[in-house]
């Protein structure tokens, strides 16, 4: 130890004796200055432009403050200027990894208000594509979470499957990311010939490849060391914050609108809901993986059910929802998505309020990050699955 005063030595960027705003914690030989560490808005550890400010006490996080709004694009306001057919091209972009599930919510809301009958075939196909979309979304998170923890390979595996699935969905919808396949009253067009056969084949392929992820990521000792016991979320806290989706199911609560409040035809089939035990990062991730399996199970069941028939009902030239309001909630890949649609009888909604899963999920971050070490903060950040556009809308 030199004869320099310890307090002066550890304060970064200041000359000895200069007044600084840092608080010094602890005493003895190792007092530490508080430091504000701003991660983001463009940082490899935060997918997208999420920013988080960490108040650090040495290596420990004292307080975490998410700073959102870097991706605010004004969806709710813009929706008031688009007619009911155009909205779907807008809403499938707020959570860009689950385009189909988003537009499904709006289509359901409009149908509910107009009391429209949707043909059976359209409903089953919607379920089929929604589940494929869920798998696409989860695969992306498997890849990106592994990257955040320092493993690059799983991303390449995940994109191998993603490309195959996107190719399949593109054959029906024409889109790779934003499908724009729903419309009020059904679907834009029917499935191409041979789609179901191809879908069946792909589901076996993906199922065969799933063990790769269980072995490569979940079974990896380093992965387990970095995630097991990190950031446990008790179920009562999760419920009070409003966390949903895999993040909630990891805490042991089997809440899923597909089961508790079935929409489409989910009531007629068996929907498995995987749950975790203690809601730590490991559980959250393993729930995500097992949800892929569950979605494959649903897809296999749907294949046996798709009936022949039309896929859309006749629409008036101008889709106008009658005066009133409705709320629809669906299980998006990341959690519950709710649309509050209010209409004054005109061509466009009077108000479209979104309840997006990512926004509620990130509310858990300050709770989870309190008192953890910095590397664990990254492991928590990645395991509370969110899409930035879905937070900021």
């Amino acid at each position: 130890m030199s004869d320099l005063d310890t307090k002066e030595r550890i304060q970064p960027g200041t000359a000895p004796g200069e007044d600084v705003a840092f608080e010094i914690h602890g005493d003895g030989d190792f007092p530490t200055a508080d430091m504000s560490l701003s991660i983001g808005p463009a940082h490899p550890a935060t997918h997208g432009v999420f920013r988080i400010v960490l108040e650090m006490d040495g290596e420990r996080v004292r307080e975490a403050r998410p700073v959102i709004g870097y991706m605010h694009r004004g969806f709710e306001k813009l929706a008031e200027y688009r007619d009911y057919r155009q909205i779907k091209a807008l809403v499938n972009r707020h959570d860009w990894l689950s385009g189909f599930s988003n537009e499904l919510g709006v289509a359901l809301a409009v149908e509910k208000m107009m009391e429209m009958e949707v043909p059976d075939r359209a409903q089953w196909i919607r379920m089929l594509i929604a589940e494929w979309n869920r798998i696409l979304n989860h695969l992306m998170f498997i890849g990106s979470y592994a990257i955040e923890l320092g493993a690059i390979t799983p991303m390449f595996y995940a994109f191998r499957e993603r490309e195959d699935i996107q190719h399949l969905l593109e054959s029906a919808t024409g889109g790779r990311l934003h499908f724009t396949y729903n419309q009020p009253g059904g679907l834009k067009i029917d499935l191409p010939k041979g789609f179901l056969r191809e879908s069946q084949r792909l589901s076996t392929v993906v199922r065969e490849r799933l063990p790769d992820y269980f072995d490569l990521v979940l079974g990896n000792e380093i992965f387990q060391g970095r995630t097991k016991g990190i950031g446990p979320l008790p179920s009562d806290v999760a419920l009070s914050i409003g966390v949903t989706g895999p993040t909630l199911q990891a805490t042991g609560v089997a809440e899923d609108p597909r089961v508790t409040e079935p929409y489409l035809k989910y009531g007629e089939i068996d929907v498995p809901v995987p749950v975790g035990e203690n809601g730590d990062s490991f559980d959250r991730f393993s729930c995500l993986l097992r949800r892929i399996q569950a979605s494959l199970d649903i897809i296999d069941q749907v294949h046996d059910h798709v009936p022949p028939g039309p896929v859309n009902s006749k629409l008036p030239k101008m889709v106008k929802a009658p005066e009133g309001a409705t709320y629809v909630r669906t299980e998006n890949p990341l959690g519950q998505l709710g649309y509050w649609l209010e209409s004054d009888g005109g061509r466009t909604p009077w108000r479209l309020k979104m309840r997006t899963p990512s926004f509620s999920n990130v509310q858990a971050i300050p709770y989870l990050m309190e008192g953890v070490l910095l590397p664990d903060a990254i492991s928590i950040l990645g395991s509370v699955f969110f899409v930035v556009g879905d937070i900021d809308r």
Partner: protein
């Protein structure tokens, strides 16, 4: 840069020099929204732009030659993009990937979206689409490499840029005829 910003290189030297530059573009991805997913798809095994000499692992803007802005730029985000661009060393290139980065895309009438990244930084190649396919990015990269091959570094450093290329609009697809 020493000599290069003062003298025009002789043609053979320029050729070899530009040939070397165009196939080692260290790329900094400014992934903002949906388009960033397609950027990642373009970098993984199926499309794999590394075979075109674009390396997506620049550690930060200071080590990068190419900035790919993929996604919606909001007014809140714009200062950060401008700052990262200014941190990059010359000669630097910008690909604007996706309708949002080109002109605001589906949010052309939004109150919080910047209508195009070219309002704050100069763009070399525009790749249209919402989101563009990964193939379109590959095409954009080839178009950019064509420009690099034919450009004079002296002019570039002096700030004289060629007009930007918009894929599919004023230029034929770069892949055609290859």
């Amino acid at each position: 840069m020493g000599l290069m910003d003062q003298v025009e290189l002789p043609q053979p030297v320029k050729y070899v020099f530009n040939w070397g530059r165009k196939y080692s573009l260290w790329c900094f991805n400014f992934g903002l929204a949906c388009c960033a997913i397609e950027f990642i798809a373009a970098s993984t095994s199926r499309h794999d732009f590394i075979r075109h000499g674009v390396i997506p692992f620049a550690h930060g803007p200071r080590q990068a030659d190419l900035l790919v802005v993929s996604g919606t730029l909001t007014d809140k985000m714009a200062p950060a993009v401008k700052r990262l661009y200014e941190e990059m060393p010359e000669p630097k290139y910008v690909i604007s990937f996706g309708s949002c980065a080109n002109c605001g895309g589906p949010y052309w009438d939004s109150y919080s979206v910047t209508k195009g990244v070219d309002q704050i930084i100069p763009v070399d190649v525009y790749v249209p689409g919402c989101p563009p396919r990964p193939e379109a990015l590959l095409d954009g990269i080839i178009a950019l490499q064509d420009r690099i091959q034919h450009e004079s570094l002296k002019d570039r450093i002096a700030g004289r840029r060629l007009d930007p290329v918009t894929l599919g609009a004023d230029a034929p697809l770069a892949l055609e005829g290859r």
